[in-house]
Assembly symmetry: C2
Homo-oligomer: 118 residues x 2
DNA sequence: GACGGACATTGACGCTTGTCAATGTCCCAG
DNA sequence: CTGGGACATTGACAAGCGTCAATGTCCGTC
């Protein structure tokens, strides 16, 4: 019947209380995984990837909200929605300047994502 | 009324037909963005992040499917479901060995994700 | 102060996703 | 070939997500 006749792996189990949202190098407890997943979910969307790329590619390093709707082909409320998600995830920052809102990347937060796949 | 009295950004518009799923460095057309989003969506889940981390942390570089359910605290069908998603995304590979299924990382695919945030 | 323009918020809608119980398939041991 | 164990698949359900039209809020200009 082969009941557990196999060499069992020393599965590192859910590790103890981690400090930082560590990378893939170590096993990950549910809490860390959920935090990391929240961050990645904010990026894992076509429209939001385009938003990030547009900001990154801009000369000034910042882009007015009004300049997003046209290249994305999405309605103004939808763009606003995506910008909010990215902002709340800490990936971009928002600065009100008169009537307009300008958005720029938060490099530290982007690097944090990059560090996961070291 | 300020009709377009602002200096308009030279928004690089949706760039031409790109070849590779490029990083954030350049603007991204919808097609590339959707491909990249699909890949990132496969990773942006707590359970799947834990799966990847467990494989990465294993001594042999591969883990039997039966060793996942316990540390994840999820049912067997659910684990199987997540493993399928990761496999179809090309992030892990599956090898049937007798009754058991062993999974290991696909480093090239992981690196592909890392390259996005260069 | 009144108008208009730039964004945000709300509400509603369909679609996708994560989960599990139940069932199916395949492989090995007897 | 029969029984049981390892995984996969199916079906169902609640929750979350992406989108837009309609509306709200705030700011600058006349």
């Amino acid at each position: 019947m082969a009941t557990k006749a196999r060499r069992r792996q020393t599965l590192p189990l859910v590790s103890g209380p981690e400090c930082c949202p560590s990378g893939l190098s170590e096993p990950m407890n549910r809490e860390s995984a959920e935090g990391l997943a929240r961050l990645l979910k904010a990026i894992a969307d076509p429209a939001r990837l385009q938003l990030l790329a547009l900001i990154r590619a801009s000369d000034a390093g910042e882009v007015c909200a009004c300049d997003f709707t046209e290249p994305l082909g999405l309605s103004q409320p939808t763009v606003s929605h995506h910008l909010k998600i990215l902002t709340e995830a800490g990936l971009i920052s928002r600065e009100q300047r008169g009537t307009w809102a300008w958005f720029s990347l938060v490099p530290e937060r982007i690097a944090e994502v990059a560090a996961v796949f070291g």
